[in-house]
Symmetry: C2
């Protein structure tokens, strides 16, 4: 059995908790929290909730620690800190800061002779893998990544910071016409506006100026100004009833040519349709926890990404079974 | 530069020849043939065509030998034979015989301290990878593989063996309704007939009994009897004009659930749309040739499949570049 620890019990941590139950070679040893452990009730009976202060004493009881904090402030500190003591997996997803994060985690993991897998999930993660496979198979071609339809946490937060807004949720929606243009093999150059629509469901405070809120959202730089944005005002009850789930998904496409005269076109398309973004991400983390455990047993220490993990490490099946059943 | 040799100059070998030109870190050293080398003209100027008898003398001049023969009779002999002397890549695609092929190649490659990658292409190959990734992320779910629309060589050959048939081509077509049922998340049980249609374009000999040919095709066990089969009779000119390309493609889907009560559904879909089946397969072989070369340099000898190759080995980019640009 691979003994897993979870650090952080938000949506992602809860997703890891349920994913472990779907993997018979794994068990949940403990959930760690920075809060008072007694204030936290988890759904796995008999599994202790412990303080992060207890973590260092658990070095021999946990094979892989899955870090379920956020990329803004938690993981930049936690992953280097715990990679000295544990094999770890994180879902660090601030793309621009991955090189910096990698360097810090690499040092820590090598010092502790541990294996640390960073930026695991679906983007970065499965989408990155598909970009890589697409690029190496069709070196002359073009990459396209579309996100959605799904809830963007960052954009929902941005809406909620607007004056007069009580609550809100934002959906990123890929533009079907843009997807079709890519699928046609015409290798279009697509602007930000052509690729995605942003749809906002906003609960306004009583008496707020709706026109002002709408204008402020639509003109918000970086977040909305470069997009066609739709704003709906709804009640708190409607938001709760119709928009409380966390779906997401998207597309990675690679369009390229082969042949002596580049006369043959090819399209590779990878698509995800997810009812629960955190539970799917958690499921990817758990599969890579298995890989971290095994790679460490083989002495493959240091910081790794999905690019460095041979797929066979992810499966509980033997090489023989994999070749027989899945190849 | 990675020095590549090609053994066999059919459609696949020609595809490897053109794919090498799209990879600036590779060069084609020689094409080997069992025929009289003087009878063969290749499209790469200045590249020698040599006899397979010359292969053993080329051990120091070739980094990876790409085996472009067929799975029925060529590869079962050639891959074990040449894996003793060269790093090799093959596209062995007789699924049921992969374990046996693996054992033989493993022995040979270990004896020669070479790296042999077998069953590389898209199925087995990229489709296998997507089956594996889908299974490990969503352990509670169902796999679906659909092929087409594309030309099946085996079924085209079967048509041509029917009495009174001069020439013919068969397309495997996935049934859209079955794909939609899978995409709905209903996890349908699909029969062979429900998944694929077989469409045949047949050129009959003069005076042949068309009704008899059609019946014989439609009732052919293994090949057509379990499918809804459509037979069109056309002229040799029409066959030449409309059906001389070799498109193919298909879909791998994984439909599964997560959550404490398995309440959330997820769908992973991978799709290929290929103008040229052999050129796409060749492009995959060439990317894996890079991996074979590198893994051998690191001492990773023996027989491997796509499951054993960390994705980073496939790319000419450094780990740093990959993390920065594709993660």
């Amino acid at each position: 059995m691979i003994r897993i620890g979870i650090l952080g019990y938000g949506n992602l941590g809860k997703g890891v908790e349920s994913a472990i139950r779907q993997n018979p070679d794994m068990e949940l040893t403990a959930v760690f929290t920075r809060r008072n452990p007694e204030s936290l009730t988890i759904r796995s009976q008999g599994v202790p909730v412990l303080s992060t202060d207890d973590l260092t004493a658990m070095e021999d009881k946990i094979d892989v620690l899955i870090l379920c904090g956020g990329s803004a402030t938690d993981l930049p500190v936690q992953t280097p800190e715990y990679a000295k003591l544990f094999n770890v997996v994180d879902s660090f997803d601030t793309h621009a800061k991955i090189p910096e994060h990698f360097e810090k985690v690499e040092k820590a993991a090598l010092a502790g002779e541990k294996t640390a897998l960073i930026s695991v999930g679906w983007d970065p993660g499965m989408f990155s893998l598909n970009r890589l496979y697409g690029n190496v198979i069709l070196p002359e071609g073009k990459d396209y990544t579309f996100w959605g339809k799904g809830v963007s946490q960052g954009h929902s937060d941005a809406i909620r910071r607007v004056e007069g807004v009580k609550d809100g949720k934002q959906y990123t929606i890929p533009v079907e016409a843009a997807l079709d243009a890519v699928r046609s093999g015409s290798n279009p150059e697509l602007t930000t506006r052509e690729k995605h629509i942003r749809e906002c469901f906003v609960v306004a405070e009583e008496g707020a100026d709706l026109a002002k809120i709408e204008a402020e959202i639509k003109n918000m730089p970086n977040y909305f100004a470069d997009y066609d944005t739709i704003v709906h005002f709804i009640s708190q009850e409607e938001l709760q009833r119709d928009h409380s789930s966390i779906p997401h998904g998207g597309f990675v496409l690679r369009s390229g040519v082969t042949g002596m005269n580049k006369e043959n076109k090819h399209l590779i398309e990878y698509q995800l349709k997810l009812d629960s973004n955190p539970e799917f991400t958690a499921s990817v983390l758990v599969a890579y926890a298995r890989a971290a455990y095994r790679m460490n047993k083989e002495g493959q220490c240091g910081c790794k990404t999905v690019f460095d993990v041979a797929p066979a490490y992810l499966s509980p099946l033997s090489g023989e079974e994999l070749r027989k059943n899945l190849l």
